[in-house]
Symmetry: D3
Subunit: 193 residues, 6 copies
Amino acid sequence: MSDKPISRFPGPELNKLPEDIRDRILAVQEKSGFVPNVFLALAHRPDEFRAFFAYHDALMEKEGGLTKGEREMIVVATSGLNQCIYCVVAHGAILRIREKNPVLADQLATNYRKADITPRQKAMLDFAAKVSLQPYEVSDADMEKMSQHGFSDEDIWDIGAITAFFSLSNRMANLTSMRPNDEFYLLGRIAKE
Amino acid sequence: MSDKPISRFPGPELNKLPEDIRDRILAVQEKSGFVPNVFLALAHRPDEFRAFFAYHDALMEKEGGLTKGEREMIVVATSGLNQCIYCVVAHGAILRIREKNPVLADQLATNYRKADITPRQKAMLDFAAKVSLQPYEVSDADMEKMSQHGFSDEDIWDIGAITAFFSLSNRMANLTSMRPNDEFYLLGRIAKE
Amino acid sequence: MSDKPISRFPGPELNKLPEDIRDRILAVQEKSGFVPNVFLALAHRPDEFRAFFAYHDALMEKEGGLTKGEREMIVVATSGLNQCIYCVVAHGAILRIREKNPVLADQLATNYRKADITPRQKAMLDFAAKVSLQPYEVSDADMEKMSQHGFSDEDIWDIGAITAFFSLSNRMANLTSMRPNDEFYLLGRIAKE
Amino acid sequence: MSDKPISRFPGPELNKLPEDIRDRILAVQEKSGFVPNVFLALAHRPDEFRAFFAYHDALMEKEGGLTKGEREMIVVATSGLNQCIYCVVAHGAILRIREKNPVLADQLATNYRKADITPRQKAMLDFAAKVSLQPYEVSDADMEKMSQHGFSDEDIWDIGAITAFFSLSNRMANLTSMRPNDEFYLLGRIAKE
Amino acid sequence: MSDKPISRFPGPELNKLPEDIRDRILAVQEKSGFVPNVFLALAHRPDEFRAFFAYHDALMEKEGGLTKGEREMIVVATSGLNQCIYCVVAHGAILRIREKNPVLADQLATNYRKADITPRQKAMLDFAAKVSLQPYEVSDADMEKMSQHGFSDEDIWDIGAITAFFSLSNRMANLTSMRPNDEFYLLGRIAKE
Amino acid sequence: MSDKPISRFPGPELNKLPEDIRDRILAVQEKSGFVPNVFLALAHRPDEFRAFFAYHDALMEKEGGLTKGEREMIVVATSGLNQCIYCVVAHGAILRIREKNPVLADQLATNYRKADITPRQKAMLDFAAKVSLQPYEVSDADMEKMSQHGFSDEDIWDIGAITAFFSLSNRMANLTSMRPNDEFYLLGRIAKE
């Protein structure tokens, strides 16, 4: 399978990329052992690449009321609703690793309402699903409900902004028919002793 | 995770089940190494159990123009559209084994339109998706299109009937919040040497 | 009209059918005065025929908390939502007879929310509509609501399972363009003195 | 059943109605043998009553490229899509009488795509369904398709305007929970010798 | 832009129109300074023209519990949901003038849930949106909610009937591709001192 | 109206903002004569602010096969479909100015299918609407259609990426209930001599 193109659009030649982008790609390769295809597919447009990953890091790598695992839950659940193979597979792997849970990602990607999560996480994903699919209906009543589950205004921004960012990301992945690396499918499924 | 209930409804006590049902359950346990929860959840109603599995076997175990792997593709793709965790996870495992392909099931469950399948299989799943989601719109033109892809009338019945059966199955699984066994998630993901 | 084909697929020759199927068909003919087309259309596949009617009988002929009339209400209302001519017309006739009510079936098939039913029956059909159209959203809150209307867990299974079975049936009827017998349209509309 | 209210809103006292409205109601009673409830329900607002029936007559009683039966087909099919009990039942009766066909109305109300109609009538109802449900998508291509089926521009206006008028009518009937008279259900179902 | 046709259908020659219609058109021209295209487009069918404007006036020009501005709010919000350019632009202008508010119409046409309106007006538009988009789901509970916001039964009829009338109007405008006059776009946007 | 809050979330104090952000805000104020609220609302999160505007500029300010006016058409049409007041009003103003056309933005925001645009622009917006609302269905056939209208692969990326970015932007605006500045509503409506 690894001989399939990573996207509808031509992948870049690594040595012709701007240095900062090549450095980022090499760094992720060193850390992960492979280069996730999203880096290669988006490098086709260096300025958009830089903005995309700056946005991503601002939302996914920061401290705050949500754990990193919970941030990935939002990504996996809303990407499932948007039927985005790349994001479901790649972030499913990250979620398995973050939560040390080999089954949660598949549950969330298929139907978050019946996944093994807490009521608070269920409320978080109900809100994310609404921002993703009916953003025009988000109302004060939704904010109130979130507040009752203990989410602060900053948490609500985080949940909404992560959902909004992956609304972009899901569309870029479907637009380009971005292909998840084969490595992602198995990652985090087998407990390491 | 294995201490979670298998369904909203009480599981049966194996030794109180009618003998034919207990025998079927023991046979599948011997073959698979575990009892898929669908057997236990549906044994709550013996007559429905018998009809369900008779129907299942009539559609999934028979010879015909579709391979057994293709039959599972229909199950996984339409169960994804119906957001059914049990069927996606359990039949995803069967599909991986049948097709000796560790990545196809996750692709089909998320977005069959972008999965690694042939144009003929894509047409098969477009038809199944229509039977599953807009059955009232199925028309002569759809039949014609299928025929152009080489599907016989008997193949079309098979595809439609498998989809119809899993429309039932997806609803029973969501009604009962049927829980896939943990074993399914990893099955078929690692090539056996 | 009676010269129109009963389905897209060829009807069987009665004397070439397996004996058990022929016997069932002759029995229904003796009881009803005609052979409902669903028996002929599905006899094209004997094993599926047997499973279909075994399932049907397990759900529709049994005792339990729902009356037989209420079971038919579920069929008519959800078949209306699925735009299935065969099931609306055939089960509309059965409902008129079961409930001795010449107008209820047409109301339920068009808009069950405004039909002449009790609040408890309205709750039953709201639940059935959800299982039929958004099965992935069925939740504990729905169960709770049903319980408040006096439905037991076994009743809920019945309602959900009947809906699930006719989700299959509606799809088979639309797939095969199954044609209701002309006899059904008038059955039960005129009070017998 | 006849003791049920005809609408959520109070029915008028016949002798307090403006004379022209009372006259129209008495005339329809003489002709039909009963007063269809739409006349009583809308008489609550005399000015709207007058405009409603003037509009109705301008569209349904005129000469033109469509037969009166075809006009009723549009009403029944789109009222089925809008789940409007009053219009399905009352205009179903009129259609049965106009077309001398006891089964067509029930077919059209449930799923016009599979009813016993000509390809030209199917095209007519596809267009009406689009005007009813996705009016914002009606395009030159739709007009072209209609033209290929032999519909003139005036026919297209008729089809669209009848659909638009019953979009209003379906909403008034659902708003007021308008109840069809029991008489309608049986009208036209039994051939008169 | 003013050389674009006003509709798919031919506009009438003013001097060939029936006298009452020509008089109405001249009167509106005198009052407004131009002839809104809806008058010309619908004059193609004199009887329908008369009924349309009689209905319109009965709903929009009468006294009652709703202000004239609120009636226009219903038109603009539901026409936005129905994606009807003519009604959004023409009634947007009327609303700006009626409410002496240059920004409200654009808000309502885009997303009434987030417009600068009172909670009572929000409830009014929630109800109108339901009548417009899911009329078959309008229920006693909706009536109760409206009553809690101080709407009388007559107000509810007004809101529902205005929505129903513009469901017709939106479909006629989309059917005919009716073009708003350029004059409407700017009307009411600049405060008159 | 100008005393209404610009968003659900607190606006920043300008003199406490990081210098680069304050500089950007002052620059836009100098150029436009006012500070569009999106700058203030998003400054609540400086890192996200930087990524957002870097992404925006990369897509909207660059050279390429699409004119700047066409880019704004994509924004206005898809923001209308997403019911986003801020983006419809603010980018509607920019579009009027870019295209020197006072009526096009209102048409596109309401129903791009019937706006005064070329067939090529209609194809562009059909594609954008699909990326916005059914991204999972974007297919090779869509690419082919775009190519027939003369769009290069780079143009297709631009159209898809602009749509994806404003899918994010529409969700942030609806999440925060971002309020368009009153100034936008009138901008570009009156020709400057």
